[in-house]
Symmetry: C2
Subunit: 149 residues, 2 copies
DNA sequence: GGCAGGTAGTTCGTAATACCAACTACTTTG
DNA sequence: CAAAGTAGTTGGTATTACGAACTACCTGCC
């Protein structure tokens, strides 16, 4: 492995190696891998998994859903189409505003999502069990501090 | 996984709401979103970003790369094709085993990857700065404990 | 009241990602 | 040396994602 051929050396700046960022990114890919695998076992892409996760306790219009996922409305249309065809989601035109389409889970979708997310917990929990209880508490606090608005 | 029906009550219920798993998943999507955005700004998909990350300090055969990413060899072919066309990666037939193709970064690819990963650090660092120094140390330890083989 | 402009979703065309099955080209094994 | 196995590519298909163009509806404004 060839290292650092005659390069300029920066003493200390934002772009220097940052082990915490690296660990966070590694962990992210690890978890994403697990989620992708669980999704695949249930014929769900990572994105569809997220859709189900978001709609578990919400009813959102298409644009809101797109905003949650960071996707275009046009992308949402296709995602909703396919999930609707599978009977997981349903669309309903808003009575107040005829342009708006609300998206929500069908009972079958809710049940399915419940099962898949149980699976997610079962899959991720063992890795978390490697931590001592007080470490888990710490981690929860830190993650919440990180993702706090 | 063997279940003991007589002790079901005392088993840890992996399907109960688990705030730590939820926080981990939320954080994962948050970081993935940031990585996707940074990738998009550089015309890279999340997967291509990972490829560059993995090859930064390694030279791998196609199958190994696929294993790292959890993808099929056939998927790798396309990913490598496109990155090669952009001049970021190169292929080389192994002299020892004529079936094997090694993949590695070109100097231009290395430079590009460096720039993109600097961007990743610059983007993620601010969120991490919200934590106190000793919290950052804690988090690093916890993440490393989690992703340890 | 009517229409100009804005907003919500869908449709269409395109590219990338990902899979599987089938293939080629090598290597290893019997 | 033939048969079986391994590494990678190719081709076909579905999904994901984007942007542009479109439809339908709502809101202001005259």
């Amino acid at each position: 492995m060839v290292r650092n051929p005659n390069h300029v050396k920066y003493d200390r700046d934002m772009t220097a190696a940052n082990p915490l960022v690296d660990a966070l990114v590694r962990c992210t890919f690890e978890v994403t891998g697990a989620l992708t695998r669980i999704g695949a076992e249930n014929d769900l892409s990572l994105t569809q998994l997220r859709v189900l996760g978001i709609l578990r306790d919400r009813r959102l219009r298409v644009t809101e859903l797109a905003a949650y996922l960071g996707l275009e409305k046009s992308t949402m249309s296709g995602l909703i189409d396919r999930a609707e065809r599978r009977g997981l989601l349903a669309r309903e035109r808003s009575p107040e505003d005829g342009r708006v389409v609300d998206v929500f889970m069908t009972p079958a979708g809710r049940e399915f999502a419940q099962r898949v997310y149980d699976d997610v917990r079962r899959t991720l929990a063992p890795a978390l069990e490697k931590l001592r209880p007080e470490q888990r508490t710490q981690l929860l606090e830190l993650l919440e501090a990180l993702t706090a608005r």
